[in-house]
Symmetry: none
Subunit: 142 residues, 4 copies
């Protein structure tokens, strides 16, 4: 089998996810960046509220990419349900290239029909990043 | 005078510009990326149609940044109205860092009340990039 | 439509392409690197003959990625059949990031059922790079 | 003595190592990337199963390079048999450049007639990475 069928995230889908995240951030009065990438980690949709820190731009994109690449929430939980140490998360980030991935909470995979079609991440709301991103990730499936 | 008042492009403004560009691209049946950056060259809003070439992501962002930095359309026209050579445009791109700027047509400054508040650029529509970006840039002022 | 169905290149398909390329290079007594990437530009299969220049490693990968991203052979021909100037090809390479793309002949998209599922590229055989890569690209479709 | 004879790993040797690793991974139903590099740390052979995480690409290559550079398995054991701390392993990774080396288990040197001729590494199988890589490393000697 040289090729096999998979699902591809569209701009329409990515925009729907992003807008839900922006709405949730506004409700919580958080200034954030939100990034949505496809399964290959390439940017589909991005917004930064004008008063969010500029560091949030690359952090949001790199957390989204990390989730898309691993099909897993960024942060410290492992697939088996055990906690990954912060140290382990840092090691993976360094290992995979710090210009591409950030393995800190706030990124979530976008799963449709059991397939990881991309990732969404929020940066700028501190410990709430993951909860806000979840509002978007939950829209398209799981 | 230690500080002075300036205008700052908001996410609302950037989104308005981006959506006008996307609508124009759809009308022309072009698959594009569109990027809107602030006066510091930092991304505010971005969309990639899922069938646009992946090269368009960085090219759109780098053209938008180039316009925001120079308050001038990307490409080969100089401020004085004379044509810049392709070579000159390339030299500027290289000088400023190819991971940040692209001086090829398709990027436009966003000018409000005579102030450059950011840039918008399109990639993916070839020679029409600039015309499509113009639909967005024209919305907020000039 | 949040997602849409596409084809994904497998390791089996990529290996088939790579082995055909290696066989052709051996026949021509060329020392080469060959890289096969998926539609997102991510490496699936790679071989370097031990006497090929070390520069061929990144050049092969970056040409393959360039073809995957553009769904087009690397080099100077445009989609419309007109020649792109070498200058234009260089500008695109610089614009998209020189650590990711090389737009010099030797890379070809892998097209299956009209979809670009990846790219294959050869480096090390000079002007024959494209001909050798073509033997692999032709295996899976077009 | 201005020069001295050494052994150089060939593509044939590297491919033999890689194929043994792929076979072992299939047997264990693990989705992995495998990389084989020469004594200079330069890629000779690489395969990624299409459902392996995209992070495995650079991690496999960087672990293989780390083993080739040190003639030692990646991870926490020092040459003297004492455990290196995780922190020590991370420090070495950082010191050597995170775009080149990863000192986490899963990489092994390829030793032939007492000479380190390269390295092989697996990423994607978690704690089994090293065991799977060992099947390949053991083929050519030691």
């Amino acid at each position: 089998m040289d090729t096999k069928p998979v699902l591809k995230l569209t701009l329409d889908g990515a925009t729907k996810v992003m807008n839900a995240v922006l709405k949730e951030a506004l409700k919580r009065k958080k200034e954030i960046s939100v990034a949505v990438v496809d399964a290959g980690g390439h940017l589909l949709a991005f917004s930064r509220m004008e008063d969010a820190e500029l560091t949030t731009i690359s952090i949001a994109e790199n957390k989204a990419r990390c989730s898309a690449f691993t099909a897993f929430p960024t942060g410290k939980l492992s697939r088996s349900g055990n906690e990954r140490s912060d140290f382990h998360a840092l090691a993976i980030t360094l290992a995979a290239g710090t210009d591409k991935m950030v393995n800190m909470q706030g990124g979530l995979p976008i799963i449709v029909n059991g397939q990881c079609v991309g990732g969404v991440a929020v940066s700028g709301a501190g410990h709430s990043d993951g909860e806000i991103a979840q509002v978007g990730a939950a829209l398209l499936g799981v």
